[in-house]
C-alpha cells in the first residue's frame, strides 16, 4: 500500500494543467500582439522615469538634444534586453518565466493596498481575501451538503426529497451575482441589516476582536450567496451517490444482520460513498471559484475576483493584472484540487493498489 504512486500521478496531471494554461496564456498573448504592448508599456514607463530624473540632473541642464539621445540609447538597450525586436515566438521561454514569477511590470490604474503599482504586489495583496471567502463557503457547503444529502438518501421520493430536487435545480440555475444583487436589495437596503459591500466599515473598528466581528458582519452576505448557489447541486449529488450505495446488496446484508441503522449508515454506506462524494466536491470547485469572482465583484470584497472587474472596466484595461490574475487563479485552483485529490487517495484504498 503506497501513497506515493497515485499522488505523483495526480501531481503530474495538475502540473500539466498548470503548464498548459501557462502556454495557452503566453501563446495567446504573443499571437494577438498583447505581449508586445505589455513590454512597450514597461519600457515606456522606465524611459519616462529616466527622462524625468535626467532632466533634473545638472549634466544635461537645458541640453535637450543630448538628453533625447541618452534616453534613446537607453530605450534601445531596453528593447534589446526584453527582446522586443524579436518575434514573439522566440521570446516565449522568457515570457513564460515572466508570467511564472509574476514579473509583469506596473499596472496602469490599479494600486495595491500599500500603494505599490507592481502587478505582483497588487495581485498577491488580494490573494488571502479570496482564499478566505472561498474556503469559508466551501467548508460550509461541504458540511451542510453532506449532512442534508445523507439524510435525504434515506427518504428518496418523499415530499422533502422532491422539494430539495427542485431547490437544487433552481440553485444551479441561479447566477451567483444576481443572487448577490438580490441580497443587497433585501438585506442591505430594504431592512438595513447588513452592509452592502466592502470588507470593513469605514473607519475600521479598533482592536483585534472588534475588527474580526466587523469582518464577519461583512462576510455574511457574500458567504451566504456563495453557499446558496453551490449547495443545491452538492446536496443532490451526495444524495444520489449515497442512494446508489444504499441500494447495494452489502447494505441489505448489514441490515439483515441486525446492525443498528447508525452504524449501517456510517460504516457501510458513507464509507463506500465517500470517494465519489469527494469527487463531487472536486467537480464543484471550478464553479465555486467562478462564483467567488462574481460575488466579490458584487460585494466589493477586496479579493482577486473584484480585481478582475476593476482591471477589465474603465477606459484603459490593465492587461498585466489580468494575465497575472488568470495565472494565480489557476494556481489557486490547482492547489485546492491537489488537497482534495490527496483526500480522495486517503479515502479510496483501491487507488493505492493500482
Amino acid at each position: 500500500m503506497s501513497f506515493a504512486r497515485p499522488l505523483a500521478l495526480r501531481a503530474i496531471t495538475l502540473i500539466g494543467v498548470l503548464l498548459v494554461v501557462l502556454l495557452l496564456l503566453v501563446v495567446t498573448l504573443g499571437a494577438t500582439g498583447f505581449s508586445d504592448r505589455l513590454l512597450e508599456a514597461t519600457i515606456g514607463e522606465e524611459v519616462r522615469g529616466l527622462r524625468t530624473s535626467l532632466s533634473q540632473s545638472r549634466t544635461f541642464g537645458g541640453n535637450v538634444e543630448a538628453l533625447d539621445e541618452a534616453v534613446e540609447v537607453r530605450r534601445a538597450e531596453l528593447v534589446e534586453f526584453y527582446d522586443l525586436d524579436q518575434h514573439w515566438a522566440r521570446r516565449l521561454p522568457k515570457t513564460v518565466l515572466r508570467v511564472l514569477t509574476l514579473d509583469l511590470g506596473e499596472a496602469r490604474n490599479l494600486k495595491s493596498f500599500s500603494g505599490s503599482r507592481r502587478v505582483s504586489d497588487i495581485v498577491l495583496d488580494r490573494l488571502p481575501n479570496t482564499a478566505l471567502l472561498l474556503t469559508t463557503s466551501l467548508v460550509i457547503t461541504a458540511i451542510i451538503g453532506l449532512i442534508a444529502g445523507v439524510r435525504l438518501s434515506t427518504r428518496i421520493g418523499s415530499k422533502i426529497d422532491r422539494i430539495v430536487s427542485y431547490f437544487s435545480a433552481v440553485s444551479f440555475a441561479t447566477p451567483a451575482w444576481w443572487l448577490g444583487i438580490l441580497m443587497i436589495l433585501i438585506f442591505a437596503f430594504k431592512f438595513g441589516l447588513l452592509p452592502s459591500g466592502g470588507m470593513y466599515s469605514t473607519p475600521p473598528p479598533e482592536g483585534g476582536f472588534l475588527r474580526f466581528l466587523d469582518l464577519l458582519k461583512h462576510a455574511i452576505l457574500p458567504v451566504l450567496t456563495l453557499v446558496l448557489v453551490s449547495i443545491g447541486p452538492y446536496i443532490y449529488s451526495v444524495r444520489t451517490m449515497t442512494m446508489n450505495v444504499a441500494q447495494e446488496d452489502h447494505v441489505a446484508m448489514a441490515r439483515a444482520k441486525g446492525m443498528p441503522e447508525g452504524i449501517v449508515t456510517r460504516r457501510h454506506i458513507l464509507r463506500v460513498a465517500a470517494p465519489p462524494i469527494v469527487t463531487g466536491l472536486i467537480l464543484g470547485l471550478a464553479g465555486s471559484l467562478g462564483g467567488s469572482i462574481l460575488v466579490e465583484t458584487i460585494f466589493n470584497w477586496q479579493g482577486m475576483g473584484r480585481l478582475y472587474f476593476e482591471a477589465v472596466s474603465g477606459g484603459a484595461p490593465d492587461e498585466g493584472v489580468i494575465v497575472a490574475l488568470t495565472f494565480v487563479f489557476t494556481l489557486l485552483y490547482v492547489a485546492a484540487r491537489f488537497i482534495l485529490e490527496v483526500l480522495y487517495i486517503v479515502l479510496d484504498p483501491r487507488v493505492r493498489y493500482t
Binding site: 500539466g16 494554461v21 421520493g157 433552481v170 440555475a173 444576481w178 467562478g290 458584487i298 490547482v334
Partner: protein, 477 residues
C-alpha cells in the same frame, strides 16, 4: 430505448412535463422575438440613445399603479401625421395639428417634448408655433421657430429634419419658460420669478399659480390640447409627422433604464439569444465530447491515452478565469464566446462515455458485430452509440443552462458582445450605473429571473430525463 419511448418517459414525471411546457413557451416567445426584432437591433437601436430620448429615465413599469397607494403618471405619446384643420392665411395656409390630452395625475410630468419630422418646403421657410390650450379656456404660446432657410446653392425642395427630427424639450426651453412666466402674469396676475417657473416648468405647464402653495403652483386637472401651427406658403409643402410626449414617472411593461431605454424590448430580445447560446453551445460540446468519448473507449491503445490525457488536462482548467482572459484578449464576439465555452467544456462527457464504452467493448454484442464483419465506424455508430445516447442527450440538456449562465457571467463582468444586448449585459449596466444601490428593482430583478426561468427549464428537462438515464430511479418511483 427509442426516441419516442424516451419522450414518453420524460412526460411521465412532473419536472419533465413542466420542462417541456416551459420550453414550448420559451421557444414560442423566441420565435415572436425573432420576427419582431431585426438581427442588428442591438447595434442600430438599443445602443442609440437618440431613439429612446422620449421615454422617461429610470422609470418603473406602469403596472406599479396597480399596487395600493401608488398613483403615478404614465407616459403619453401624442402623434399626428395629418393636420386637424387647414385655414388660408395671406398667400398661403396654416395647418394646425391639435393633440388633446386629459391630465388628472397628482404629480407633474417628468418632461414634455415636441418632435417634428421631415419638413419639406419649396419657397419660403415655414414657421412652427407651439401652444397649449388649457382647461380654464386660456391658451399659452410656448415656442416658435422658423425652419432654417435655403443654404447657399441649395435648390427646392428644401428638406429639413429628415435625418434627425427637430426635438424640443419644452420644459427646458428658455423661451417657453419666459413665455410661461409672462402668461401667468398676464392671465392670473401672478408675479412668479422666472427661476421659479424654470425649476418647476412641468408643474407650470399643467398648473396655475397659487400663492397659498409652497411651490407657488398647483396642478390643474382637465383637458389640455397641444397645438402645432405650421404656416406654409406653397401647396406642395409638407410635414411628415409631429409628436408631443408627456413623460410620466412610470413606463411600459418593464420600465426603463437610465437612458430611457425600454427594458421590456431588451428582455424579449435577450430570450432567443440566450436560447441560441445555450442550445448551440450544448449541441456542439456534446457532439465533440461524445465522439471523442466513444472513439477513446472503443479504439483503446495510444488513441485512448492521448485523448484521455488531453481531456484530463482540459477538464481540470478553472473555467471562468480562462474565459475572462480569452474573451478579454481575443475580443468579445458572441460566436467566439460560444467557441471558448465549447473548447473548455467537452472533456466531462468524454471521460464519462469512455468508461461506459470500455465496459461495453468486451460484451457479446460488440463481439458478434465484429464477427459479422462490421467496420469499426459502423460498430461505434450503430452498436455503441445507441446505448450511450440517453446519457449524451441528458448531458446535452444539462449543459445548456451552464452555457447560458457562463455567458451571463461574462457579460456581467463587462465582457459581453457589445453589439448584442443580452440579459447579463442589462444587469451589468444596472450594476455599473448604480441601479442596485438606488433600489431600481425593475432593472435588476427581471433579467435575473428570466435567466433562472430559462436555466430551470433545461434543469427540469434534465431532472425528467433522470429515470431514462438511471433505471434505478424508475424502480423507486
Amino acid at each position: 430505448m427509442t426516441g419516442r419511448e424516451m419522450f414518453r418517459e420524460l412526460l411521465a414525471t412532473f419536472p419533465g412535463k413542466a420542462g417541456v411546457v416551459m420550453l414550448v413557451i420559451l421557444i414560442g416567445l423566441s420565435i415572436y422575438a425573432a420576427v419582431r426584432f431585426p438581427l442588428d437591433w442591438g447595434r442600430n437601436e438599443w445602443s442609440d440613445p437618440a431613439r429612446w430620448s422620449d421615454n422617461p429615465k429610470s422609470a418603473p413599469p406602469a403596472w406599479v399603479n396597480l399596487l395600493p397607494g401608488t398613483d403615478r403618471l404614465g407616459t403619453t405619446k401624442l402623434a399626428a401625421s395629418t393636420p386637424t384643420d387647414v385655414s388660408p392665411s395671406g398667400n398661403g395656409e396654416v395647418r394646425t395639428y391639435r393633440l388633446p390630452i386629459t391630465f388628472d395625475a397628482d404629480e407633474p410630468p417628468t418632461f414634455v417634448s415636441l418632435s417634428v419630422a421631415a419638413v419639406t418646403y419649396y419657397s419660403r421657410p415655414p414657421i412652427l408655433t407651439v401652444s397649449l390650450a388649457r382647461p380654464d379656456e386660456t391658451e399659452v404660446v410656448l415656442y416658435r421657430q422658423v425652419v432654417r432657410g435655403p443654404r447657399e446653392g441649395e435648390v427646392a425642395p428644401f428638406q429639413r429634419f429628415r435625418q434627425a427630427p427637430l426635438r424640443v424639450v419644452l420644459n427646458n426651453e428658455s423661451t417657453a419658460i419666459a413665455n410661461m412666466a409672462d402668461f401667468f402674469r398676464d392671465t392670473y396676475g401672478a408675479d412668479l420669478h422666472q427661476t421659479t417657473v424654470r425649476n418647476s416648468m412641468n408643474r407650470a405647464l399643467f398648473g396655475r399659480p397659487d400663492p397659498n402653495d409652497p411651490d407657488g403652483l398647483v396642478l390643474m386637472p382637465g383637458e389640455y390640447v397641444f397645438n402645432l401651427r405650421v404656416s406654409f406658403t406653397d401647396a406642395r409643402d409638407s410635414l411628415e409627422s409631429v409628436q408631443f410626449v408627456v413623460a410620466g414617472s412610470v413606463f411600459g411593461l418593464m420600465g426603463t433604464d437610465a437612458l430611457g431605454r425600454d427594458l421590456a424590448q431588451a428582455l424579449l430580445f435577450g430570450l432567443p439569444i440566450a436560447l441560441i447560446i445555450g442550445i448551440s453551445a450544448s449541441v456542439i460540446t456534446t457532439s465533440i465530447g461524445a465522439t471523442l468519448g466513444v472513439i477513446s473507449g472503443y479504439a483503446g491503445g495510444r488513441t485512448d491515452m492521448v485523448i484521455q490525457r488531453f481531456a484530463d488536462i482540459v477538464a481540470n482548467v478553472p473555467l471562468l478565469p480562462l474565459l475572462i482572459f480569452f474573451v478579454f484578449v481575443v475580443g468579445s464576439n458572441l460566436y467566439l464566446i460560444i467557441l471558448f465555452l465549447v473548447a473548455f467544456s467537452w472533456p466531462g462527457l468524454t471521460i464519462l462515455l469512455r468508461s461506459m464504452v470500455l465496459q461495453m467493448r468486451t460484451g457479446q454484442l460488440i463481439e458478434s458485430a465484429t464477427t459479422l464483419g462490421a467496420s469499426r465506424w459502423r460498430i461505434m455508430y450503430r452498436h455503441i452509440f445507441p446505448h450511450v445516447a440517453p446519457y449524451v442527450f441528458a448531458q446535452m440538456i444539462f449543459f445548456a443552462p451552464a452555457a447560458i449562465l457562463a455567458e451571463a457571467s461574462l457579460s456581467f463582468l463587462g465582457l459581453g458582445d457589445p453589439s448584442i444586448p443580452t440579459w447579463g449585459q442589462i444587469l451589468e449596466n444596472g450594476f455599473r450605473t448604480g441601479a442596485v444601490f438606488l433600489g431600481y428593482w425593475w432593472w435588476v430583478i427581471p433579467p435575473g429571473v428570466l435567466i433562472i426561468i430559462t436555466a430551470v427549464t433545461f434543469m427540469f428537462l434534465a431532472l425528467g430525463m433522470e429515470p431514462v438515464v438511471n433505471p434505478r430511479l424508475r424502480r423507486v418511483r
